[in-house]
């Protein structure tokens, strides 16, 4: 057994522990909000007024898909870079700076969201402290400017984190001039290239349009433009959640199965495909938007379908690696090798179950991507069904399972109660199946997403069963997920304070069966892939964006702000304007 990570890199381990702490706090809050939403939507228990549901919904989205996933990502990537390059950062002050920026950004944004629960929120920067705009913040819905400021600070933190990892790698390659980039570091660098290319979009949307407009420095904006810029970023954003899970599937899962990664070169190909294809597909979120021509939607559709390729390749490599591991453990036969896998290990079982759910969710994603079928499911509760199978399970469950393996190495403490961990991952699996089965079915009958009260004066034509049954199923699933999340957090908390220092974890990653020597060196030519990715982005986006600006103008056809925090009865934008003008 090799030296533990925490003993070798104590400062890195501390930073990663703090990143995971932030991530898990967000998971806890997000899970509470999620439970309240599941019970509210289904009208089983409504402890808040329906308008406040949207505060819960905004918090659930931001805390889980921004804070939970990305704080986990930076922790995991810090581990991956440090462990695979066998060295710490060039300047630890930079590392702590990005951690500080991300934390500060999270706190600023969290305050604006949580202030939505106050009966009488204070005035800050010319408007009420509130941000009931959901994590997509489509203008002209408007949040307090601080909401956007917090997001910007957070994203700048992630940019700095990426720069920090690049710097570590450059320093490493000066010392090791002839070596291939180690696979984990390769995955980190390619993920961050994708993140840089895509987050330009949301940065422009916020800094050039939404933030000045929320401060009343500009009078109006073009909602189609800001929405398109958001989705330019938005689909790469979902891969930003997913790629840490991919890293765990490629690097850790084969090892947990008892074997080695099947193919290093194809793992690199997969990550390059994500760099190339995850941004020029964003318009598939806008199939039903007016103001964007059908041709651009068709291009986005074909690009999206080709994005299936890296995921299908992953399915092969991951299953092949697991089979190899099982056979190393004495598994035999065509399917009997499955029994030789270490099912009692929650880290393994969690990732395996997440993979199964991901495969299923991938097929629902193909439905979403099919642009003419999209009419049927767009913005129905089918879509959150898809999101919860993908980010809510493929990603979240993999990250939780990965924690069972990683946290003991970061703390030097033995994982408490592996059996409870196994129950936790199985509960999550069951919860998500119950909840999303209900969501998918209800979505097909037109039940909408993102609403406090999905039942109207008409009756839904439910094909199988009844609305009541679907509601019970959704609430049951949501409750199981909540219990599972709390169990996970409990295990993590007890492990953090566990005095038993026999961690029983082997942190070494065995080399791949088909190693980097089999992969052409061009795969490591990051400059080339950046250039191709930029060309693809320009091809896919320059004409649609030009067309949108040409039609509606950079600052839009006189779209005034719509401050959602103002009561419906006194929705007077003029009040807002004058308050903003006083500050400005």
């Amino acid at each position: 057994m090799s030296e533990l990570f925490v003993e070798k890199y104590p400062e890195q381990a501390r930073l990663i522990r703090l990143a995971f702490t932030a991530s898990f706090i967000a998971l806890g809050v997000g899970a509470v909000f999620g439970l309240l939403q599941a019970l509210h939507r289904t009208d089983i228990l409504r402890i808040v007024e329906s308008p406040t549901y949207y505060t819960l919904l905004t918090g659930h989205g931001v805390f889980l898909v921004v804070t939970f996933t990305i704080f986990f990502l930076v922790g995991l990537y810090q581990w991956a870079v440090t462990d695979s390059l066998d060295r710490g950062p060039v300047d630890p002050r930079v590392t702590w700076t990005w951690y500080g920026l991300m934390s500060a950004g999270t706190i600023i944004t969290a305050v604006t969201i949580l202030a939505g629960f106050l009966g009488d929120p204070p005035e800050v920067l010319g408007s009420e402290l509130s941000a009931d705009v959901l994590f997509t913040f489509y203008a002209p819905l408007q949040a307090n400017p601080l909401f956007y400021v917090g997001l910007v600070v957070f994203v700048v933190g992630t940019w700095l984190a990426g720069a920090d990892w690049f710097r570590t790698w450059l320093a490493w390659s000066r010392d090791n001039p002839d070596e291939r980039i180690p696979l984990p570091t390769f995955m980190v660098l390619t993920t961050m290239i994708m993140w840089y290319i895509s987050s330009i979009g949301v940065a422009i949307a916020i800094l050039a349009f939404i933030l000045p407009w929320s401060l009343a420095l500009t009078e109006s904006l073009n909602p189609t433009l800001t929405r398109t810029l958001f989705w330019y970023f938005g689909h790469a954003f979902v891969y930003f959640w997913l790629l840490p899970a991919y890293l765990l599937w490629y690097i850790v899962l084969p090892k947990l199965s008892g074997g080695r990664l099947f193919s290093d070169p194809l793992a690199r190909v997969v990550f390059i495909l994500f760099v190339l294809l995850s941004t020029p597909v964003g318009i598939h979120h806008q199939y039903l938007d007016p103001g964007i021509s059908e041709g651009f939607k068709f291009i986005a559709m074909t690009n999206t379908m080709f994005l299936l390729l890296p995921s299908l390749l992953t399915a092969f490599t991951v299953v092949a690696s697991m089979e190899h591991g099982a056979r190393q453990r004495g598994g035999e036969g065509t399917f009997n090798w499955l029994r030789a896998l270490p099912w009692r290990d929650p880290a393994f079982t969690g990732m395996a179950l997440a993979g199964i759910v991901f495969a299923f969710g991938g097929f629902t994603g193909i439905v979403n991507a099919g642009m003419n079928i999209n009419y049927l499911v767009h913005n129905s509760v089918w879509i959150p069904g898809h999101i919860h199978t993908q980010v809510g399970t493929a990603v979240a469950l993999t990250l939780m399972a990965g924690s069972y393996w990683l946290v003991p190495q970061l703390t030097g403490n033995r994982l408490v109660n592996r059996q409870a961990g196994l129950v936790q991952v199985v509960l999550w699996f069951l919860g998500i199946v119950f909840m999303t089965n209900s969501m998918y079915r209800a979505g097909l009958f037109g039940v909408p997403r993102r609403t406090a009260e999905p039942e109207y004066s008409f009756e839904y034509d439910i094909g199988v069963g009844s609305m009541a049954e679907l509601n019970v199923q959704l609430a049951l699933g949501g409750t199981l997920l909540f219990v599972s999340a709390m169990l996970f957090l409990g295990i993590m908390l007890l492990t953090a304070f566990n005095d038993d220092t026999e961690p029983l974890v082997d942190g070494t990653i065995p080399p791949a069966l088909s190693g980097p020597e089999d992969s052409p060196p061009v795969l490591d030519n990051l400059r080339l892939w950046i250039a191709i990715a930029l060309v693809l982005v320009v091809i896919a986006y320059i004409i649609p964006l030009a067309s949108i600006v040409d039609r509606g103008g950079l600052f839009g056809p006189d779209i005034g702000p719509f401050p959602v925090f103002v009561q419906i009865t006194d929705a007077i934008p003029t009040v807002f304007y004058s308050l903003g003008a006083l500050i400005a």
Binding site: R344, T349, L422, F434, N437, V464
Partner: protein, 64 residues
């Protein structure tokens, strides 16, 4: 025990999933199963599984 508790747990979980999804699939072929019937069937199957899984091995020497 004929089967280790982790495996029994996983099999029970998959049985639940199969029963949940089976209703929709059967309805597609025109077979209507009510939630209650479905739940009773699932509980029955799981009870049999648990009974079988927790019986001592020596009754039947050929282990699964």
């Amino acid at each position: 025990m004929r089967i280790s508790p982790p495996r029994l747990l996983l099999i029970v979980a998959f049985v639940l999933v199969v029963f949940l999804e089976a209703r929709t699939v059967l309805a597609f072929f025109g077979v209507a199963v009510s939630p209650l019937e479905s739940a009773i069937a699932a509980v029955a199957v799981i009870a049999v599984l648990v009974y079988w899984g927790t019986r001592p091995v020596d009754e039947e020497p050929t282990e699964e």
